[in-house]
Symmetry: C2
Subunit: 650 residues, 2 copies
């Protein structure tokens, strides 16, 4: 039965807990024993471990039945499908120096996967590659993957605790056995071209690598974490528990839909007669599964997690889902889009704070009743910034005259009705025009806009405000007064695969808005482009070029970069800011997901080697676009040359 | 006028020699001076070197004419096109830290290339990247390349003489300025995605790098070599000459269609009144171009080269031209193909030697008249191996009975008429059958076949001979008795670009037969697969797997691997062999060009790091295919999984 329910209707796969079992001819009993014991599924060896194809003899005239554990009839199709993950024979070693073992391995691997496929299992667990080489294993598996149907293959990889520093990593100094298991996985999946049916099951040992090293796995397709009973500690009452670091890791797995599997023999002597920590009654008159106390502990961890905030639950469906950025300048937004963004009260309260501060700075208390400040909202949409500005005026007791400029005629309709409804006719003048063309009747003291995209300037705020700046007084204030974009390199297997599935160049040269979840952030953010408003310099240009050097912490080990996560931070006015850059992000604001710039070919970075990246913001007569490339550790092709794949229309 | 003629109708571009000139407003005179002086083309600065866009001022209402050297009318279109390579201003520095220089550079670069394009020049020379970074330069050029038409852009790169060893190359030990110019070029062209209008002009200095390092350039699109007058030595008579190593390099350039350009001031004082070493009369009453003696020396070097052998001349058109390998098993060869291959007398004389040795070994002299050896030619085609075998019998005075087995019914027609014409009816029995199906009336002493492809087993010799082995006596001899394939990593820009132009995966996963020419061989050949005949082991299989580790000589520097050149060597009988593996190749044999296995993404190998490569020969019920991948320095995807792109039909 599931570990718990984190919220009503919890559908996370990580609620289901499995148990690894030994080979057993009696599959019916094996399943029933473990399901009644509280587990949701088995990691079950399908083939007798003594079987070796080469021992069968050459007499092909006799039909041999392969020594699988029972026929397909011993379980119902739905039992096979829901409760059994097939465990491929662990003796298999496709990169053995012994050719007989290699050939036996290839035959057995194909037979077992074919059988698992015949049973419609959801997944198979593949044995850990032995040694440091895995090319032949990867080659055979890659052949199998081409015709596999929907079954997932979980490659079993040990989460090893070897620590890395640049010195040790020198190939001359590194011994044969010392290979980072992530690198083994990385070679494997590069050979298999990130096949999306190939994923990882991590063996969790009693000691853990550095958190930077572990962190890499959260950008990978990890489906299961196998925890051995001897990785558990013992608490004061004699029950199994996990170290703080293991607890944190387990919780992170729960958060990333990773299923936990218990393996090993019970090594804790639970006091006789004690009931499970879950408080449930033991099944069938006191009988308890020998591993029940481990399961109970995991259920306790699951249930102890903070409930998922409503906003997070709402965004569950958006996790790692790639969206094309809006083009609010070229396209007119729809009512539903306005509706969604207007609900972001935090954003508007920040604007209100900024306008309030600007009003107070501009009009001293003694002039509050005599001076009317001219404020223009450019890109007024359906009016939320007009409302925020009016509230700021009320709060500061300043007099305001507002021009609400909006180019979308559909939004203007709603704006008119809002002004009428609220009785703002005396204060607010609605202008149905593109701010770049409008001939303003007077100049503004304050220019308020919200034209920011996830990457700051990517919805052409600079170009729009350049146009609007004409009607700002020379000492006038722009809110926002500046904004800066940020990027950081990430491992993001899921995003890479989604982009790759389009099988074209265009999708690899497009930036996406995406709620990043299954992502490993490999280095700190760095600022990219900054724009300041107003900007009166004579040689101004909105073109930008930035070279960035990222140093990935050396205890990470090697890492694969699938692209760059992008964010922005905007200074609205003085100390009032707004943004999604993780270290300074405005809490509880939901208008912006991060942006993601993919790389056409993922770049592998070795410890101690910096990652050098270049970003350009390019401007043409009808469009603005980004180009990007990597030049170190090796040069990538230029992405999005001349904006061929992705651009923002002016 | 051209440097010479290596053979009648010599069309090599390297016959034409250029001269680099300073900026000169009077282009008409400049051209006439140099053409009359004996040069074929100019490397001419087009724009006044004092020009900087930012100095023009902001007044855009005044129309400025850019300070180009005269209007397009000063030369005729054909003069511009045939005799001028435009030299882009050398002050241009797109990666300067100074933003004004960067912006000026971008504007000027675009203006000058647009002007050169307007003049329909064949090529422009681009200034050497300054410093170690070139991303912004590459980005601008890449934008320009997308809309360039047919003009070539030659990036000027200094052939520097920095020597490399693994120690120095450690990024921690390497200073800012120490960058291998090849690496600069490599980054540049990777960013520009191997654009085929981007090529190289090499500046040749007085000292040269190691020959491994220089060798890399022969896989690159080098169009010109610019030799400074001060790189010349002085001979006993006071004339300019080149060092031995420079001579070798220059000859190699001539052989690779690289044009030489002379630059610099005359630094040799030629004795007054002396005539040119070419023996021609000086032009216009004793007037000689000040650089004439350098030109004459180059002409001397050109004319001194060995004349191109007829075979090489015949193969000129095949250089670096990708062909699909033959499928003689699945398809029937055409008459023309037989015709071509039958002309390879060397090949058949090797077969004759092998058969002769086998006959003598098999039948002692004393039995020469009493014993008749049964020899079967399997894959007899139109009969050349039958003839070779009969000649061997005649030479050794042994008695022979021949079965000529051929599955192509069209070749059998010709075979019949040959036997009749030659009066071989008593000796030769023609069998129109696939050797794998034929039910032989008796067993053979000697089985002769020539089923070898460029990669040995790639035309399915193993599978065919497995079939034919049934009718070989237990102690019988197979000619060939074994064959081995070999590969080596190569830089091969031209081949890579030709494959890339198909814009699909299939062409990157196909092996090609190709006369390799513009190729840098980066490491020694290594053996891949060996097949031996006859083969009686019970567990025999024609599947193969080989892991290879290539160490690129450390004085090469970094190198880019576009794929693998493949060869074979066959032991026909005892010490008689036949093959194209370069170190042991049979001289003057032309039946096989090498094979080329491409890589989907070229792999960059750093000095001191080995290149690990895996090759598989896979066999299915209807086809045989290869798969290949690289696992070090980083893992490539598997190529040709399940033979999806390229296979040989059974």
């Amino acid at each position: 039965m599931p570990l718990g329910e984190r919220y009503v209707g919890d559908k996370s796969e990580s609620r289901y807990c499995g148990v690894e079992t030994d080979f057993d001819d009696d599959m019916t009993n094996l399943l029933s024993f473990n399901i009644h014991g509280g587990f949701d599924f088995l990691l079950a060896t399908l083939m007798n471990p003594d079987y070796r194809p080469s021992l069968l003899g050459d007499d092909t005239s006799i039909s041999h039945a392969l020594p699988f554990a029972g026929s397909d009839l011993v379980l119902s199709p739905s039992q096979w499908n829901s409760h059994v993950v097939g465990k491929i024979s662990s003796w298999i070693d496709l990169d053995s120096d012994d050719e007989t073992i290699r050939k036996d391995s290839e035959i057995a691997l194909k037979q077992e996967i074919a059988w698992a496929s015949h049973l419609s299992l959801q997944a198979c667990l593949l044995p850990t590659p032995k040694g440091t080489s895995c090319a032949n294993y990867a080659k055979c598996l890659n052949q199998i993957l081409q015709n596999l149907g929907s079954m997932q293959l979980w490659l079993r990889i040990q989460l090893d605790d070897s620590e890395y520093d640049a010195e040790e990593r020198n190939p001359d100094h590194m011994g044969e056995g010392q290979i980072d298991s992530w690198e083994l996985w990385n070679s494997f999946r590069l050979i298999c071209e990130h096949h999306d049916h190939l994923s990882v099951a991590l063996d969790i040992l009693s000691s853990l690598p550095s958190s930077s090293s572990v962190g890499r796995w959260f950008g990978e397709p990890v489906r299961a974490a196998i925890i051995n009973t001897n990785s558990f500690l013992t608490n004061a009452r004699g029950y199994p528990c996990l170290s703080k670091r293991h607890q944190t890791l387990t919780t992170a797995f729960f958060n990333h839909s990773v299923q936990i599997v218990i393996t090993g023999r019970p090594v804790h002597n639970i006091p006789v007669g004690a009931s499970g920590s879950s408080g449930e009654n033991p099944i069938e008159g006191g009988w308890r599964h020998p591993l029940r106390s481990y399961l109970d502990y995991l259920a306790y961890l699951y249930q102890k997690m903070d409930p998922l905030p409503e906003q997070e639950r709402f965004e569950l469906g958006y996790r790692d889902y790639l969206q094309s950025p809006l083009q609010p300048l070229m396209d007119n937004l729809e009512a539903q889009t306005y509706e969604t963004f207007e609900k972001d009260t935090i954003k508007y309260s920040q604007y209100q704070r900024a306008v309030a501060k600007a009003l107070v700075d501009r009009v001293p208390d003694e002039n509050a009743t005599s001076v009317t400040t001219v404020l223009m909202v450019v890109g007024a949409g359906r009016g939320p910034l007009v409302r925020a500005s009016l509230q700021a005026a009320e709060e500061t007791e300043r007099k305001l005259k507002i021009y609400a400029v909006e180019k979308n005629p559909n939004a203007v309709v709603t704006l008119h009705s809002l002004v009428k409804l609220e009785g703002w006719e005396e204060i607010v003048t609605i202008v149905s025009s593109d701010m770049r063309d409008w001939d303003a009747p007077e100049k503004a003291d304050i220019l308020v806009s919200e034209l920011l995209g996830s990457f700051g300037d990517n919805e052409l705020s600079p170009e729009c405000l350049d146009g609007a700046q004409r009607f700002l007084k020379e000492d006038g204030i722009s809110i926002p007064s500046s904004y800066t974009s940020f990027i950081q390199p990430v491992t993001a297997c899921k995003l890479y695969n989604d982009i790759k599935s389009h099988k074209d160049l265009v999708h690899f040269e497009t930036a996406y808005v995406v709620k990043l979840h299954r992502v490993a952030r490999l280095a700190h953010n760095q600022p990219v482009f900054t724009f300041t408003h107003p900007e009166y310099s004579t040689k101004k240009s909105n073109q930008r070029y930035k070279k960035l050097l990222f140093n990935i912490p050396s205890d990470t080990g090697s890492a694969l970069v699938h692209g760059f996560a992008g964010y922005f931070d905007a200074t609205l006015y003085k100390d009032v800011h707004l943004g999604i850059e993780p270290s300074t992000a405005t809490p509880n604001m939901f208008s912006w997901f991060p942006i993601f710039f993919p790389l056409r070919a993922p770049v592998c970075v070795q410890p101690g080697n910096p990652l050098e990246v270049h970003f350009w913001r390019c401007c043409g007569p009808t469009k603005v676009w980004y180009e990007w490339c990597v030049t170190s550790p090796s040069a990538s092709p230029m992405h999005n040359t001349n904006g061929r794949s992705y651009w923002v229309g002016l």
